[in-house]
Every structure is written in structure tokens, then in C-alpha cells.
């Protein structure tokens, strides 16, 4: 398998793996950097609903999220790398979630945990429930379930680590936080008279195409 984060001229991936088997580590800055930060993803100490109970269970001794380097739940967004949206996002809570996201320093990642955070879940038809947090902030990992078991959260975290490990630190494929011109600010919605305004972040959640109706002749 070709590893995109390892590009040393003159050495193939197979040769590198052969060397590693013999205890010689050949690596690049990118791989080292991503290895370091993928194993120290600090989540924000932030829970919304019943999924948060599973998140707490994942951080306790039985499931022990510390095995993956993410036991440091930070009480301040300034020190957190990962926002786990764990539960139903009501329209009253959505501005706060987006503001917390904006207050987190880059690089930051978002996990939508459970059916509610992904789509509104069983409350999708509710008048006061946001139909998925990805309408406002960019979500990296979706964990289905109602609520997902702690193992599922750990699996999501491992998937996120995989994603972090494969990120480039330069070039056009670099993530948004490494590109000087990329805008990382998500507009914070406000509670309007009937709904939150705006109802979506157009950059992340484009409007569906207009229905083309045949004109009557």
C-alpha cells in the first residue's frame, strides 16, 4: 500500500517497511508531525444529551479512551482539538455549539456522535431540533447509533486518527488550517422569530437544486 505521507526519494514503501521490521525507522517530518498529533487529540469537555453519557463512559476505566491519547477533556475550547457533538442539538443550543467551534484553535476536528447530531435523529420532525450539526460546522467523522456504544466512539476516534495521519502539511492538498487564505470562521446563527437565522452555512451545506417544473403550454 502506498503511503502518501512518506515520500523519500529512492526508497520504496516496501523497502521502508522492511527496514522498520529490522528496527530502523525512516520517516519524514509530515509523518512524525501527524503521528504526534493523531495520538494527542484532546476533546472539548462538552456534552449535549444521552450520547454524552456514552462519551463519559468511554473516558472511564472500562473503555478507557486514554489508550488512544484522548483522555484529556479540556474545559476550555482554547485548549481543545476535537469537538464531539454528543447529542441532540436544539435550535437554541446551535449558536453556542458554533461559537465554541469558532473559539477552538486550528487544527480542529469534529465528530458528530449519534443520530441526533448527524441528522436530528428521532427528533428530526421536531420544530426546535437542528437537523444535523453539519449544516453549520464541518464534520469529520459521523458515528451512527442512538446512542452509539463507547466502542463505537473509540472506533470513530481511531478513524479520525487515521484521517489526521494522512493529512499533508504542505501543497494544495493541505487541510484548511495550513492554508493562509482559507477562511475557518463559521457564521454563528441567531435565534430568529421562527427559526435560527441563517438556517445553514451555505459553504458547507449548499442549497438543494431548484426544482425544474415544466412550463404549462
Amino acid at each position: 500500500m502506498s503511503d502518501p505521507t512518506f515520500n523519500a526519494p529512492g526508497i520504496t514503501d516496501m523497502e521502508r517497511d522492511e527496514l522498520r521490521r529490522h528496527g530502523i525507522l525512516l520517516t519524514g517530518l509530515e509523518e512524525l508531525y501527524n503521528w504526534g498529533r493523531s495520538h494527542s487529540v484532546w476533546p472539548l469537555n462538552f456534552g449535549l444529551a444521552c450520547c454524552a453519557i456514552e462519551m463519559i463512559a468511554a473516558s472511564m476505566a472500562k473503555f478507557d479512551i486514554a489508550r488512544f491519547g484522548s483522555e484529556v477533556f479540556r474545559p476550555s475550547p482554547r485548549q481543545a482539538d476535537l469537538l464531539i457533538v454528543s447529542g441532540t442539538v436544539t435550535k437554541k443550543m446551535a449558536p453556542q455549539v458554533v461559537r465554541l467551534w469558532n473559539q477552538m484553535p486550528e487544527p480542529k476536528y469534529c465528530i458528530a456522535m449519534g443520530a441526533c447530531a448527524i441528522s436530528g435523529g428521532p427528533f428530526k420532525q421536531g420544530y426546535n431540533v437542528l437537523k444535523g450539526i453539519d449544516r453549520f460546522i464541518p464534520v469529520d467523522i459521523y458515528i451512527p447509533g442512538c446512542p452509539p456504544r463507547p466502542e463505537a466512539l473509540l472506533h470513530g476516534l481511531v478513524q479520525l486518527q487515521e484521517k489526521i495521519r494522512n493529512q499533508a502539511i504542505s501543497g494544495p492538498a493541505a487541510p484548511r488550517h495550513l492554508q493562509a487564505e482559507a477562511d475557518c470562521n463559521c457564521p454563528i446563527p441567531e435565534c430568529g422569530a421562527h427559526d435560527i437565522e441563517p438556517t445553514r452555512n451555505d459553504a458547507l451545506w449548499p442549497k438543494p437544486p431548484e426544482l425544474l417544473r415544466p412550463t404549462k403550454t
Partner: protein, 123 residues
């Protein structure tokens, strides 16, 4: 290395200063070379609980509260003297008891004065 028995402390000091300096310099260099700053209004805000800050930080309390604090202090200090007074009451000479009662009278007089001027009513 010098033969002075405490010469190693200089080495310790040098390492203790150099180690964090190296780490901070590497972090700074990384920030300069790879990590463009991404400030925004929410990130610069002083309050970090998700809610937007509201109102003024310079809240004013009523000066009236000061009188309550003083009156509380009377009883607070009084208690310090009353406890040993009560503990040693039977063994005290008459002069000591009279002196203590005089002290209590002065304090109660202050309370009555404040009460009479209406300071105990919250306005």
C-alpha cells in the same frame, strides 16, 4: 567541570533554562513556517463558555452593603471574646465580668444606634 561541590547546580540551571527555551523556539518556528494564524471575533472574545458576553464587567454594588458588612463584623469580633468569656465565666472575678459586660454594652449600643437610624432595612 570545576571541582566545586556545587558546580553541578550551574549545569542544572543551564539545562533548566535551555530546555524550555528550545521547546518554545521550536513551537514558535513551527507556527511561523507552517501554521497561519486564523483569528476571528469569537476566538478573540474573552468569554469562553459558548455564550456571547453581555453587559458591562464593571458592575457597581450598592454602598449600603458596606454598613451590613460593618454590623456583621461587630458580632463576628464579639464572638471571639464571648467564647473564652463563657468558658471561664465561673472562675472570673467580678471586675472582669463587669468589664466584659461594659464591652458588650458598647457593641449593643452601636447596634441599637444603627437600628434606630434604619440601617437594618434594605432600601
Amino acid at each position: 567541570m570545576s571541582d566545586h561541590p556545587y558546580a553541578f547546580l550551574v549545569l542544572f540551571l543551564a539545562v533548566a533554562v535551555a530546555f524550555p527555551l528550545v521547546l518554545l523556539t521550536v513551537a514558535r518556528l513551527w507556527f511561523r513556517c507552517f501554521q497561519p494564524a486564523k483569528p476571528n471575533a469569537a476566538k478573540q472574545a474573552p468569554y469562553e463558555c459558548g455564550l456571547a458576553e453581555s453587559g458591562d464587567a464593571w458592575i457597581q454594588f450598592k454602598a449600603h452593603y458596606y454598613l451590613y458588612a460593618i454590623l456583621f463584623l461587630i458580632f463576628d469580633v464579639e464572638l471571639l471574646f464571648l467564647l473564652p468569656f463563657a468558658a471561664a465565666f465561673t472562675a472570673l472575678p467580678v471586675t472582669a465580668i463587669v468589664t466584659m459586660l461594659l464591652f458588650l454594652l458598647l457593641l449593643v449600643e452601636g447596634l441599637i444606634w444603627a437600628w434606630g437610624r434604619g440601617h437594618l432595612e434594605w432600601k
